[in-house]
């Protein structure tokens, strides 16, 4: 199992659900090692913990030849930045932009870090836990705008 090998080589901890935890300072080192055995980037996502003011960023990679999946996890503070995985996996481009858009995590060395699904002038990051579901900037808040009906 390549996963076990990587776990031992990089001395990563494992959570009870099988996620390998690494420190964000070792990012490049870890990615370089992973790229060798897991060339397929499945997804990147984040989870917000408002009490701890922290994010879990989760990476999932696949090995195609011997079907296997590996999950990596790193914890960062809200104001912290994370290096971009674009250098290793081109697909990280859009995935990181999505996280930047919805969580507000910034990625260093990303080629084009803009909002991806929301308009450029949107305020706030909706998937953060302290963001209410129906909040929108005034310009885009159509709930308060009047209903238009034709006079017949």
């Amino acid at each position: 199992m390549k996963r076990e090998k990587i776990k031992e080589e990089l001395k990563l901890e494992e959570t009870k659900d099988g996620f390998l935890v690494f420190k964000s300072s070792e990012f490049y080192h870890v990615m370089e090692r992973i790229k060798k055995d897991f060339p397929y980037l499945s997804f990147i996502t984040a989870v917000h913990f408002p009490q701890e003011k922290a994010f879990d960023v989760i990476y999932a990679f696949r090995n195609i030849d011997e079907p296997e999946i590996i999950f990596l996890k790193t914890k960062i503070k809200e104001e912290e930045k994370l290096p971009s995985a674009y250098k290793f996996y081109k697909g990280a481009d859009w995935m990181e932009r999505e996280i930047y858009d919805l969580f507000g995590i910034e990625f260093e060395n990303h080629p084009d870090l803009r909002r991806i699904v929301l308009p450029e002038d949107w305020e706030g990051h909706p998937l953060r836990k302290d963001y209410p579901i129906n909040k929108a900037p005034e310009k885009y808040d159509y709930r308060k705008k009047p209903v238009l009906r034709r006079e017949d």
Binding site: L41, I69, W94
Partner: protein, 381 residues
């Protein structure tokens, strides 16, 4: 006619804004193109015109409430959407699934794969031929067949497109009497028609000319971008989650994974056509081997907090018609997810678009975009 045409480079570049309202963007995609004459210098897709905040919604409503909303995500194959979440929650909460339910799930997943690929074939040809052109005919033929599949869905669940068939621990409806006859009729028809369409298109020199050697996606790039499904297989990677990590008793079925060679538009077309044939095969097996027994391990639930998961994290992925559709759930023991991430196949498949479009002609945009088969409910979520 084989060699590439050299078009002399004009000095000025024009910027063309394609979409979001455009007949062939398969929904609401906007592409900002930088053109030099007819050649594309760079392409920047702009997505998010159908961003409905499904992930945020998944955190606020319970699992039971959330399931029907998922139908609207990848709206061409609603059943596979549900299947993904149902499997994830079942894995986290350890809910057993009777074998009959598993077979019904497979049966309807494959039927919706057929329906989805039919829509893809129709719209793909529509793009190649123009809405007033020869492509329209294939488009209408495909929709004619799709109606027949939707009739089964309607008879079974009451809804054509969004059946809400799955439930945690099984399925909500048993097969109705006489369904096997209905389905077999469609399968016989489909086998005939798939061959007919493929012959019609592959023997057309213009079609070959427009698709062969266009939009080549190498294996390594496809993997880096996280492409999955027919796009990955078209590039020659033999990888199918149904075989690699079998779920819902897919390991009991006998089918093959079609693979392409060059990774161009034509290969992706071929792979999808072959996949339709394999789907027909799987549906036949599922009908024949449908075991007796209960269809759900839990009573049909009306209470919205009926399903709870223990705290923990889980990720399951299934092979939807578009590729790897995964659900990552981070739970804190409540009847709703703390964080619900949908790993959308169309999102990753579409992200390869700027790479593919570069140095192609304007006319190739529609062919390449059509071959990726994005669904914007899935891309934007």
């Amino acid at each position: 006619m084989e060699e590439k045409v050299k078009i002399s480079e004009p000095e000025e570049e024009i910027i063309l804004n394609m979409g979001p309202q455009h007949p062939s963007t398969h929904g609401v995609l906007r592409i900002i193109l930088k053109l030099s004459g007819e050649k594309i210098v760079s392409a920047k897709p702009d997505i998010g015109y159908l961003h409905r905040g499904v992930e945020k919604l998944g955190e606020t409503v319970t699992y039971v409430q959330f399931l029907p909303m998922l139908d609207r995500n990848d709206y061409l194959s609603a059943t596979t959407n549900e299947l993904g979440l149902v499997l994830a929650v079942e894995k986290l909460a350890n809910i057993p699934v009777p074998e009959r339910a598993q077979y019904i799930r497979v049966l309807f997943s494959e039927l919706s794969r057929l329906a989805s690929h039919l829509v893809w074939l129709g719209t793909f040809c529509l793009d190649l031929g123009g809405a007033l052109g020869g492509g329209t005919s294939v488009f209408l033929f495909c929709f004619r067949e799709r109606e027949k599949i939707l009739d089964i869905f309607e008879k079974m669940t009451g809804s054509r497109m969004h059946p809400h068939l799955m439930q945690y621990g099984g399925v909500r409806y048993d097969v109705y009497p006489g369904m096997d006859k209905d389905v077999k009729e469609i399968l016989d028809l489909m086998e005939e028609r798939i061959n007919e369409y493929e012959e019609m298109l592959v023997n057309n020199p213009v079609f070959i000319d427009r698709t062969k050697g266009v939009g080549i996606l190498p294996k390594e790039v496809a993997m880096e971008y996280g492409c999955s499904g027919p796009v990955l297989r078209g590039s020659g990677v033999k990888y199918d989650l149904r075989k690699a990590h079998p779920y819902s008793s897919y390991d009991k079925f006998d089918f093959e994974i079609p693979v392409g060679e060059n990774g161009d538009v034509f290969d992706r077309f071929k792979v999808r056509m072959e996949e339709m044939r394999q789907s027909v095969r799987i549906v036949r097996q599922a009908l024949e081997g449908l075991p007796e027994g209960p269809i759900t391990s839990q009573m049909p639930v009306k209470v919205k907090v009926a399903v709870r998961t223990p705290p923990g994290e889980v990720y399951t992925a299934i092979e939807s018609p578009r590729g790897e559709l995964g659900y990552y759930i981070c739970s804190d023991g409540k009847p709703n997810a703390y964080r619900l991430k949908i790993r959308a196949p169309s999102f990753s498949n579409l992200s390869v678009l700027p790479y593919l479009l570069k140095d192609h002609l304007v006319a190739d945009i529609v062919a390449i975009l059509g071959s990726l088969d994005p669904v914007f409910g899935d891309v934007d979520r």
